[in-house]
Symmetry: C2
Subunit: 217 residues, 2 copies
């Protein structure tokens, strides 16, 4: 496998997940920024649509193939570079981690992302208070469900995926950033905050953060 | 592994995905219906919230553990009963199948599901035309992206996952039902329709269909 090329936007939580995973695996890669707001959105231009028909980031180019959708890319990274593992070994434990990732990537992020907000403010006619109520509801209820699942399993926080950060952390850290960006209170999620505190000073996470990206503003 | 118990709602596309996968694997299982609209929603009651803190179907109980989130459950089924495989062997091919599943489970279904529609009609103030515009936009653009990805890979239709139905079909068949239910035109997606035509007469799919469920209405 040659070094992959990641089409990324500094603030996209989905691209951020993949940046963390590549860093945790120590995989050399290049980043090509795709700006989601400049010039009406570089992702909506024909050049990027030819790479990703869904016009979303991230896309990962590798050996002439183009991979899309962060959940699929994360699994591919895990299968292609097994060490260090980003999922536990036991199937039931893997299922619990993947469920946390799915709550974020299915039930929070798609309702929060820029395209959805754009539609709701435009065709949906949402004003600021309605937009805030929408974001608070879906981000809050998703994070609350994750916190409850962690409590049920007796997780104390720190790394959710095991003794080291893994796929859960790839999803949780960008989502907590999104929650703060959209003014969603986090004090009811102590386990998630403990995980975040354990991750943010690690180089793999620092180098993947929006502010460390070539397209950061 | 003892026979799992699936908490299911006949019309939930996420529960339907899991029903197909269990049938394709030939895994004996029991189904416990959770009605999403009767009595204000059985999923919202404390009894079900104790099973699934997110108050969503499906949940899969197995050996005293409770698994949630259909993408995680599908992967667990694949890992627990490897034959017949529901994913191809090669990592890049697996990533393409998982991307199709993710477009459906992340970018279409969560925007279409009953909880989201309820919020939009209630707090969001959506009337029928606005609700229809929302559904048409997100279901249509997701299916169009999948069709474009299949075209790019030179897929002719029939089974997307390989020589037999797999995880892609588990997600595509329920989603096409959802598209029709919400009046989204399908004529621009010939590959997806060919896949559907190849699946619907197979026992694994017939037995998983909403009309074949114990709670069908």
């Amino acid at each position: 496998v040659n070094p992959p090329l990641l089409h990324s936007y500094f603030r996209s939580s989905a691209a951020w997940r993949v940046r963390i995973a590549l860093n945790l695996k120590g995989v050399a890669h290049a980043i090509r920024p795709v700006h989601l707001t400049r010039d009406g959105g570089e992702h909506l231009m024909d050049e990027y649509r030819a790479i990703n028909p869904q016009a979303r980031v991230p896309s990962l180019e590798v050996d002439g193939e183009i991979l899309t959708q962060s959940p699929a890319i994360l699994e591919w990274i895990e299968e292609t570079w097994p060490a260090p593992p980003l999922l536990p070994a036991a199937p039931l434990a893997r299922a619990h981690i993947r469920a946390i990732c799915a709550i974020i990537s299915c039930d929070i992020a798609p309702l929060q992302n820029s395209g959805t907000q754009k539609w709701l403010r435009g065709q949906g006619g949402f004003d600021d208070p309605k937009m805030q109520a929408w974001l608070t509801h879906w981000i809050g209820s998703g994070l609350a469900a994750i916190e409850a699942l962690l409590a049920r399993r007796g997780e104390t926080g720190r790394f959710i995926s095991g003794d080291a950060p893994g796929l859960a952390e790839c999803c949780v850290i960008p989502q907590l950033f999104g929650a703060r960006r959209f003014h969603v209170p986090l004090e009811d999620y102590p386990r998630l905050l403990a995980t975040e505190a354990a991750c943010t000073s690690l180089p793999a996470f620092m180098d993947a953060a929006p502010g460390a990206q070539p397209d950061a503003e």
